[in-house]
Amino acid sequence: MRQRNRVLGWTVMPLFLLACGAFTIYYFVENPGGAMAARLLIYPNVFKLIQQHVLLVVVSSLLAIATALPLGILISRPRFRTLGLVVENVVNVAQTVPSLAVLALAFTFLGWGFNTAVFALWCYSLLPILRNTYAGIRSVSPSILEAARGMGMTPGHILGRIELPLATPIIMGGIRTAVVINVGTATLATFIAGGGLGDLIVTGIGVRRTELILAGAILSAVLAILLDHLLSQAEAEFG
Amino acid sequence: MIKLEQVSRVFPGSEVPAVVDLTMTIGDGEVCVLVGPSGCGKTTTMKMINRLIDPTSGKIYVNDQDTSKIDPIALRLGIGYVIQEIGLFPHMTIAENVATVPREKGWPRDRINQRVDELMHLVGLNPGTYRNRLPADLSGGQRQRVGVARAMAADPPILLMDEPFGAVDPITRARLQNEFLRLQEQMKKTIVFVTHDIDEAIKMGDRIAVMRDGRLVQYEEPDKLLSMPADDFVATLVGRNRSIKRLHLIKVNDVVQNETPFVTPEASVDEIRSAMEERKTNTVLVVNAVNKLQGVISRAELKGVEGARAAQIAQPVQNTVEWGATLNDALAVMLNYGERYVAVVNSREELKGVITLNYLLDLVRDDAAA
């Protein structure tokens, strides 16, 4: 039963979402609702924007995972206890900073473009992953750690075999949050020439073409749901 | 009076009925204990009385009124309800918890405050100290007392109690049980009491309803239940040591003796010796003018203390039980301290008498013979 659910999770749901996305693209390219939207809603263009969007999200998220995970592990070590508390508090405050503000500030010192957008997304998605990694590892009960130490496990083994596996659900929760936020924030990248599906939405708002807005909105929502689903699937697989 | 007539309850989606064809009558002022293994339908039966669960068929009468024809809210406001300590509202102070039903009934504030103080005194919690605390600040036993006080706030003639002492340690539980029995002697409420602990049932109940698989197996006074179990199930439930269990049923009040001699604190060593000789015992209790227990002296302590007064050589008494405890409690204390007697004192620590081991042995032997 579980095996079947797993297979279904990797196939049916992603395929369904991809089909939704494909239908959205097909429908709006074929029915752009007027000459203006038709200039943007052409297959190569839409695919280019999707590719840009995915690239924005994936690159920034991977970078964030690659930096926040080791950092979170580091500050959860007993000898960095104070540092961990400081970081935790700083992150809690920093998380209230709106994504648009981060994007705009990045723009002021890095100029426009894809790389700036990636940087801003990276900054913003760092926080939930860092916080959850730290919180996840700290949530492992001290008695379990003591038992592991008592059995003679090395600190490396304790981290790899006890702390990380037990913290996985919380860490994955942070990663999922970060990725979903990133998909949404990436739509704002268009304001600083970062590309992505935001191009469709902002142009649509500018020239009041609902088709453009809908195409951008649905595709980015589908992307968010798809990535979230794949991550939860991966969590079930490795967790 | 509560009357159940052929009451059945089937839960949706379940093939086995929770309660089948239950007929029983609970008299006014009686403690009726529903007992049985978990899943036997005892809690369901209780909840049908205040209509937290409605019966699938059959009728329930409270004071000769068909409960299905009474508004459930009005019905419940007239029935006190005690459950394990987790049922306290964690966000309300003790006073607010106790005041729940009076507030629901719209009593004036003064009257509520007065009643809350009264109830807290009644269950032994000092209102000055505990009024504004939260349940989390109290011990398990204290919380349970609050639960009882809360149920009695509007002075309902009927109380439903669902394993009220289930979540506290055995020592606290015994104390709460004794306190409650003492309260019940004054209040004379009609009580339906659910427990899975047969010892508690025997100790608390005027009548015990043994249930199994939703059916009433036997509905009897505790003494009869122990001496004449209806079938093997009941016999197993009450256990092989039935005769010892009967010790639960007898209160020290009823059998207290005066076999151990008393002396005043001023008594001389000679006076103490003669008191021992007179009753042929090895110990003598020291009691002051207002009958308060001051200590105990045994033969061993009399060596080489000629000229001393009783008060100077008396040792503190540990083997005491409170007025209202059962013979089982008394036996437990004897075994604990390795003494052949216990002193019975009331809540002001005045000596009421003693119970001896010999007396208990005689009692159990008689039982076995009968």
Partner: protein
Amino acid sequence: MSFWEFFITRLDRVWALTLEHAWLILVAVAIAIAVGVLVGVLITYSRPAAHGALYFCQVMMTVPSLAMLGLLLPLFGIGFTTGVIALTLYSLLPIVRNTYLGIREINPAVIEAARGMGMRELSILRRIKLPMAFSVIMAGIRTATVMVVGIGAIAYCIGAGGLGEFIFRGISQYNKDLIVIGAVCISLLAILADFLLKRTEKRLSFRS
């Protein structure tokens, strides 16, 4: 012209826009609290409705805020009202979710005790369920408020006003000072809102 000179010459505007932004948030969150708590309470009485509502909330949260604003534009036109509607929709989601979860997390024994004592459903709700779920509901309100401060900045695109003006104008005029003022003000507003709500929660909730 240094940043501070620049800032001081625009002080009036900063203040006016900050108030405008705060007002936008306040109206949206106030409506969202009223509606969200009500919906959250109602769905506790029906499991299918609750599942439906929670799934709906989860999906809606993944719709990018920019897209949501764009979609409301043809329906409600430009201006403050559309902004309020969009922000209300967004802040509804965490409030509904947390109200539901907060009430569902209450130990059933407590609620049964209340019912058994003869409390009416309304007074159970008012005196038991809502107070006990308070801190969870407040957490939802905080999430909603902080989120909506950020989305409020984006709502400038559809003429809702507020501090987004500094950021968007700063980007299009390539004016870093404007961007910094906008970003910092919005961030401070979010941090302040979070802080105030935390204080309110601490003051109002019972010790646990």
